[in-house]
Amino acid sequence: MLQTTELNAFYGQFHVLHDVSIHVREQEVAAILGPNGHGKSTLLKSICGLVDQVQGAISYKGRDITGRPAEKLVNDGVIYIAENRELFPEMSVLENLKLGAYSKNARPFEKKNLAKVLELFPRLEERKKQLASTLSGGEARMLAIARGLMSNADFMCIDEPSLGLQPNLRVEVFNIIKEINKQGKSILLVEQNIPQIAELADRIYMLEEGRITFEGTAQEAGENEHLKEIFLGM
């Protein structure tokens, strides 16, 4: 479904990703682990067309999408759910959600998806009219995820979905991801704090200093002592 080949990414002079090759199969959940600041978000953003300087190749459903800008990729079915949320601060929760369905292929499902995400996150239903800028940290995170779900994308890049969520919701989000995966979506995930990550992901990558240092199935990851110690300790 998605494949990167020797991907390199830069911010100005700063070389962040070094020859990163990963792939995500149809209907698969892949997770990227790695220490803070080692390029996980940059990898997701590069795939989703949000980084200006990338080299290497990215293909999606067999098509080369290297350098394709985010706004076009959304129509192709690739969506990024940002770590820092990127909401529209002066718009209500509802308007933010509606904008999540801006792309052509999401539009027909807007009503249906809206009902669904409001059911998934009752807190958002409660706060429909509130401006996004005044949401609490966790509420904003929910809105970001919900807005991403509105896009009806086939391939979702989710950056730290559990960031700032209360414990029971973290489990909830984990379930939601499982659920949408079951419905046929492929997911590439960056996540540090779901203990059950091994249970969720079909494939796990480890990204250190911009390089892939481990690749394997969840089971293989579980057997890797280094990984276990650092990432699956919570």
């Binding site: 911010y11 100005g12 002079q13 700063f14």
Partner: protein, 320 residues
């Protein structure tokens, strides 16, 4: 910064050796120094403090009128009246600054520019005439600065030039010291994130007002100096021309690139003079030049010098 400033002023200081006999050239040099201070003040408040103050010309004119009126009406020697003028400009600066503290970006620009726009009808109107602005006729006789019996009139341009130079150097050193001191850091911090700065103990109120006061004081004082040099005043300085010219100085010098503004003043005044015979093509070319320069020289002449000589540059963007 200090070194470059010394070179620039040093270079200007020896100019009278070559053109000391030509009043016209000396006049240009004097005006360069005057505008250099005004542009530097503008750079301080806009480039460093990040406050879009568009009242610089207004404070200049306020200082000029204040000093002229104070010395004409109360017989205070111009040497002192220019400080009084600076004080008056500073007080007005604080008054204008107060409402601006709660405002942002283009709003601040508007409120400060409002001072500029209101100033002309005020000076021309009944209120202005009552305090001695001479209404729309202006003030046509203003005594020259007199130090120990030596009068600095437009007839002694070399003397006036060196006096201006002293003033400009003092003002520039003050500006430099402010930028180098913790003020500079406070401004950058406030510009980046006001709530983070506040949580670290930075008072936006205090520093913003202080910068309003300081820049209007210096600008007003230089305005006063100008009044006594030229010896006459009218509201015609408030046209858009001077405002734009000062802005061009900043563009050429580089915003937030002190002492770029001084270089900007030199280049702009010279260019303006050279283009003057072209009549309407002068502003046409200047305008086009601004567009091109903003695009090609993001940090003005200073940025260019840095690129050529590889001087160190304070990174101000979120780049690695």
């Amino acid at each position: 910064m200090g070194g470059l400033m010394a070179i620039i002023y040093g270079g200007l200081a020896i100019m009278p050796l070559f053109v000391g006999g030509v009043d016209y050239m000396m006049h240009i040099l004097i005006m360069i120094l005057i505008w250099a201070v005004v542009a530097s003040c503008w750079d301080l408040i806009m480039g460093f403090a990040g406050i879009f103050s568009f009242g610089q010309v207004a404070f200049f004119v306020i200082g000029a009128y204040a000093s002229a009126i104070v010395s004409n009406k109360f017989g205070i020697p111009p040497f002192f009246s220019i400080f009084i003028a600076g004080g008056i400009a500073a007080i007005l600066g604080v008054l204008v600054g107060l409402p601006c503290l709660r405002l942002k970006g283009a709003y601040v620009a508007l409120v400060t520019f409002a001072v500029h726009m209101i100033l002309e009808p005020f000076l021309k109107g009944h209120m202005g005439r009552a305090i001695g602005t001479g209404g729309s006729r202006g003030i046509l006789t203003i005594p020259p600065i007199n130090i120990f019996g030596y009068a600095f009139t437009p007839d002694n341009k070399v003397a006036v030039f060196y006096l201006t130079l002293v003033l400009a150097v003092i003002c520039s050193v003050i500006i430099l010291m402010v930028i180098r001191s913790f003020w500079g850091t406070a401004f950058l911090a406030l510009k980046d994130s006001e709530d983070f700065s506040a949580s670290l103990g930075v008072s936006a109120f205090k520093y913003k007002l202080a910068v309003f006061a300081l820049t209007s004081f210096l600008t007003g004082m230089v305005g006063g100096f100008y009044a006594h040099y030229v010896g006459m005043l009218s509201t015609r300085m408030l046209g858009i021309d001077l405002f734009v010219t000062l802005m061009i100085m900043l563009v050429i010098g580089g915003i937030g690139q002190f002492p770029g503004a001084i270089l900007g003043a030199i280049v702009t005044v010279t260019l303006n003079e050279m283009l003057s015979p072209l009549g309407p093509y002068r502003p046409l070319i200047l305008g086009g030049l601004v567009v091109v320069l903003v695009l090609l020289l993001p940090d003005g002449v200073i940025g260019l010098l840095r690129r050529i000589f590889g001087g160190k540059r304070k990174t101000r963007e979120a780049e690695a």
